[in-house]
C-alpha cells in the first residue's frame, strides 16, 4: 500500500504543488487547510506522515502537533514542519524553511517514512 501523507497548509499554491509532487513520487495525499481540518482528516485515516505549516488560521500547526501528541493513535505519526516563519521551532521537530528545494524536501520525506 502506498503511504498516505497529510499536507496541512493554508497557502493553496504551496499545497497544490506539494500534492502534485508527492502524488507523482507515488505517495497518496490528503489535504487540510488548517489544524482543525487536519484533525478531521486524521480521524478518517491515520497517515504515515504529516507535513505541517505553522502559521495557519483557525488552528496553528503548533497546536495541531500538540493535539496529535496528546492522542495515542496519532502521537507516533512522524511530523515534518514546513514554515516560512522565523520562529524558532521546537528543536525536537524536523523543520524545513520555505522555500525549500525539491531534493531536500523529498529526502526529508523519505527519511521520515523510514
Amino acid at each position: 500500500v502506498r503511504p498516505l501523507i497529510l499536507i496541512v497548509e493554508d497557502d493553496l499554491p504551496i499545497r497544490e504543488s506539494l500534492r502534485d509532487l508527492l502524488v507523482e513520487e507515488g505517495y497518496r495525499v490528503s489535504e487540510a487547510d488548517h489544524g482543525a481540518q487536519a484533525l478531521e482528516r486524521l480521524a478518517e485515516e491515520t497517515p504515515a506522515l504529516v507535513i505541517v505549516d505553522l502559521w495557519m488560521p483557525v488552528m496553528t500547526g503548533g497546536e495541531l502537533i500538540e493535539r496529535m501528541r496528546a492522542e495515542p493513535r496519532w502521537a507516533p505519526v512522524p511530523v515534518l514542519v514546513l514554515t516560512a516563519a522565523n520562529d524558532e521551532a521546537d528543536p525536537a521537530l524536523t523543520t524545513l524553511r520555505k522555500p525549500v528545494g525539491l531534493e531536500t524536501l523529498l529526502a526529508a520525506v523519505s527519511a521520515k517514512l523510514k
Binding site: 499554491p13 504543488s17 516560512a84 522565523n86 524558532e88 520555505k98 522555500p99 525539491l102 531536500t104
Partner: protein
C-alpha cells in the same frame, strides 16, 4: 600667664591685671573684678590672637575686698575646632541641599533623621512631616510593602540596597523613584544607620517602555514580512525544480534555468534583507549556551543543497564551548554559502580545529579566490570582490559574520590566492 600676656612673670608683679591683659580690659571693669565674674570665649590679643575663658573672684576679709584671684584659660583650640566642625557641617548641608538627587539619612533605629532640601521640595512637605516614618506616607500604596520590605531586609543585614517605588510629588503626581541606600558608620566603625540617594526615573522608565514596544512592533513586522516574502517562493521553487528534473528541449531548458536563477537570487535577497533588519536589532551574542561546535557545524553542513558543489565536513575533534548557537549557525551558513557560490563547483571543505583556548572554524573552497587588494574590503557592508552581474546577493554575508564573530570576542580572516581558492578562518574563544 606669660604666654597670654607676653609679660614676664617677674615684671608682672605689682601691675594692674587690666594692664597685663589689655585686650580683655573692656570686659573687665573694677566692679566685675571686685564682685566676681565668669566670662567665656573672650577674644584676646596676646602672643597670639585667640579666645580664653576668664573668671575672677574677689578675696575678702571681714566684708572688705583686699584682692582677687583671676583664672584665665586658653580655649582657642576648642573654639577653633568647634568652628571648623560647624563649617564642615554647613558645607555638607549646603552640598546636600544643592544636590539634584533626593537625599535622606536614617539612624540606628531605621527612622529617618534627615532629608535634604531637594527631597523636601520634591514632596512639598516639611522636614518635621518627613522625619521618622513620615516620608512613607508619600509612597504609593501599591509599592509601600515592597519598598518597606526592601529597606528593612537590607537594614537588618546592613547591606546596600536599591529599590524602586512611586513617591508622591508636591503636585500630587506619583513619580518613579530609584532609591539607593548605603549603610553608614561612625568614626569608631560602629554602624550608624543609612544614607540614601534617590533619583526620579519616571521619564527613563517611560522611554524604556516605549522603546520595548517599538522593538516588539518592529520584530513583529519583520517576522510577518519574512513569512509573506518567503511563502510565494515555495511553489516557484518546486515548479522550477520539477521542470529542471523532467528535462526538456534546449530552448525551454534555458528559460527554466533562468527562472531557477531568478528564484535563487530572490531567495538570497530576501534572506539578506531579513538579516539586515535583524542586524539593526543588534548583532550581539545574546543567547549564549554550551554546545559542541563541531556538532552544530556538522548539522549546518548537512543541510546544504549539494547540487552546485559538494560540501564536505572534515573529521573534527569534539569542540565544546559557549556561544550563541543561532548566530554561530549563521556564520557557518554564510561562509559555506560563499564557498559554494565562488567555489567554481569544486568541493567546499569545512573543519573545526582545537587550538587550546580558542577553536577554529575553517571553510576552504577551491574557487576563483580573492585578489589581495580586495581581501580587507570583503568584510565591509555591501561589498563584494566580484561584479554582482555574475554573483547575486547584497554583499552582507561576510560583514554579518564578522559582526557576529566580534560579538563573541573572536576574529575572522581570509587566506586566498586568485584562482586557487579561499580559506576563511574563524577564531572563537571557548
Amino acid at each position: 600667664m606669660e604666654r597670654l600676656s607676653r609679660v614676664a612673670r617677674g615684671r608682672a608683679i605689682g601691675q594692674d591685671v587690666r594692664a597685663l591683659f589689655a585686650s580683655l580690659a573692656p570686659a573687665l571693669d573694677a566692679d566685675a573684678l571686685s564682685s566676681g565674674v565668669s566670662l567665656r570665649q573672650l577674644p584676646f590679643a596676646g602672643a597670639k590672637n585667640g579666645f580664653c575663658d576668664f573668671s575672677a573672684a574677689p578675696l575678702q576679709l571681714d566684708g572688705n575686698v583686699y584682692g582677687g584671684v583671676c583664672l584665665l584659660r586658653d580655649v582657642t583650640e576648642q573654639v577653633e575646632t568647634r568652628r571648623r566642625i560647624a563649617e564642615t557641617e554647613s558645607r555638607f548641608r549646603n552640598m546636600a541641599d544643592a544636590s539634584p538627587v533626593l537625599l535622606w539619612m536614617s539612624g540606628l533605629d531605621g527612622l529617618c533623621t534627615f532629608f535634604n532640601r531637594t527631597w523636601l521640595e520634591f514632596t512639598g512637605r516639611s522636614l518635621e512631616q518627613e522625619i521618622g516614618i513620615g516620608w512613607s506616607e508619600g509612597v504609593h500604596f501599591q509599592d509601600f510593602q515592597s519598598c518597606m520590605d526592601g529597606y528593612l531586609a537590607a537594614f537588618a543585614r546592613r547591606e546596600r540596597f536599591a529599590i524602586e517605588y512611586r513617591l508622591r510629588r508636591h503636585d500630587g503626581e506619583y513619580r518613579w523613584i530609584f532609591d539607593q541606600g548605603v549603610p553608614r558608620y561612625a568614626p569608631d566603625g560602629s554602624f550608624a544607620g543609612y544614607i540614601g540617594s534617590c533619583v526620579d526615573i519616571t521619564d527613563r522608565r517611560r522611554l524604556a517602555e516605549d522603546l520595548q514596544q517599538q522593538v516588539r512592533g518592529r520584530d513583529e513586522f519583520i517576522s510577518i514580512a519574512a513569512h509573506e516574502l518567503r511563502t510565494p517562493l515555495m511553489p516557484m521553487r518546486i515548479a522550477v525544480d520539477l521542470l529542471l528534473q523532467k528535462g526538456a528541449d534546449a530552448e525551454l531548458r534555458a528559460r527554466v534555468e533562468m527562472l531557477d536563477q531568478a528564484v535563487s537570487r530572490q531567495t538570497e535577497t530576501i534572506e539578506a534583507l531579513l538579516d539586515l533588519s535583524r542586524i539593526n536589532a543588534g548583532l550581539t551574542a545574546n543567547d549564549v549556551e554550551p554546545f559542541d561546535l563541531d556538532e552544530v557545524v556538522g548539522q549546518v553542513v548537512a543541510r546544504f543543497d549539494r547540487r552546485s558543489a559538494p560540501v564536505v565536513m572534515a573529521a573534527s575533534p569534539r569542540s565544546p564551548g559557549s556561544w550563541d548557537r543561532g548566530k554561530v549557525e549563521r556564520v557557518v551558513s554564510n561562509l559555506v554559502t560563499n564557498g559554494v557560490k565562488y567555489g567554481d563547483g569544486r568541493p567546499v571543505e569545512v573543519a573545526v580545529e582545537d587550538h587550546g583556548a580558542r577553536v577554529h572554524l575553517v571553510v576552504r573552497d577551491q574557487g576563483i579566490g580573492i585578489a589581495p587588494a580586495d581581501q580587507a574590503r570583503i568584510f565591509e557592508r555591501f561589498e563584494r570582490a566580484v561584479s554582482e552581474r555574475n554573483f547575486g546577493g547584497l554583499g552582507l554575508g561576510l560583514w554579518i559574520s564578522r559582526q557576529i564573530v566580534a560579538a563573541h570576542g573572536g576574529s575572522i580572516f581570509v587566506d586566498s590566492q586568485p584562482g586557487a581558492g579561499s580559506t576563511f578562518t574563524v577564531e572563537l574563544p571557548l
